[in-house]
């Protein structure tokens, strides 16, 4: 990505929603954002808070978040970065994806998909540092394993029963997947900043 030609200028970054302002205007899933903020506070342990504070001191002072409130990856993942920003002092600004496709298109997954949440980290002078997309690879792998297992266990059963079995199994993993997200973000920033 050519950062000098990015549509995300410092001025535009400043126009994004703060996390509380974003939550105040979403139309769906307020309860899920709240529920997974509670588990996010457990996912970001004291040691993690120290790490992200050090990351901010080393220059990672801003994070742009692209998301949409209807998306499970977003209402699971955005509270994690919200909590990280809260404990570290990182300036977090949220941009609804579908109103900011020009930003989204700078950070396509595999150069193709408008996947969310997408997190973009900048230093205090708004230089691009790195970005993170959607969910950890380990979580994607586990999702596939759960789907396969549920399909095998519920063969021949009613579609609603299969759907509920899958949801129960997946949702039960959300708190651990938030912890995995914290580990993933630590690895990303550690490699970039040497924290």
């Amino acid at each position: 990505m050519a950062e000098k030609t990015s549509v995300v200028t410092p001025e535009r970054f400043g126009q994004g929603f703060t996390y509380p302002d974003y939550l105040a205007q979403i139309k769906v899933n307020q309860d899920r954002f709240a529920r997974y903020y509670e588990t996010a506070t457990e996912a970001v342990a004291d040691d993690d808070a120290s790490f992200f504070k050090a990351a901010v001191e080393k220059g990672c002072s801003r994070v742009l978040v692209l998301g949409e409130d209807w998306c499970p990856d977003v209402y699971r993942g955005m509270p994690v970065i919200g909590r990280i920003a809260e404990v570290s002092g990182m300036d977090m600004r949220v941009f609804p994806r579908d109103e900011h496709l020009d930003i989204m298109d700078e950070f396509l997954k595999n150069g193709e998909h408008r996947s969310i949440p997408t997190l973009v980290f900048y230093d205090a002078d708004h230089n691009y540092l790195c970005h993170w997309i959607e969910r950890p690879e380990s979580v994607t792998k586990e999702m596939g394993e759960i789907n396969a297992a549920v399909d095998a266990e519920t063969a021949g059963k009613d579609e609603a029963e299969v759907r509920n079995a899958r949801r129960d199994r997946v949702n039960a993993r959300f708190p651990d997947w938030q912890k995995e997200t914290v580990r993933d973000l630590r690895a990303l920033l550690s490699g970039k900043l040497g924290v």
């Binding site: 949409e68 998306c71 949801r167």
Partner: protein
């Protein structure tokens, strides 16, 4: 209880498969009712009771379909 006379389709903004479905139906002159799941919790919950991936189509005969012609729908489950 009301009887459906036309398909009901649950969509969200930004869903390519939803756009393709509605474009095709409009071109074919299909009458349908669109319900936007991203605009209200009530519709979101209703959509989730029928499927995980929009577009979710409920036909008058009771059939339910998710997605459109193999396109990438959006997961809301």
């Amino acid at each position: 209880m009301t009887t459906m006379s036309m398909p009901i389709v649950y969509t969200i903004q930004g869903c390519d498969a939803c756009v393709k479905l509605l474009d095709k139906w409009n071109a074919d002159g299909v009458e349908f009712e669109e319900r936007r799941a991203d605009l209200s919790q009530e519709v979101m919950d209703e959509a989730r009771s029928y499927g995980d991936v929009v577009p979710i189509i409920r036909y008058p005969d009771g059939r339910v379909e998710e997605g459109f012609e193999g396109g990438i729908g959006c997961f809301i489950g």
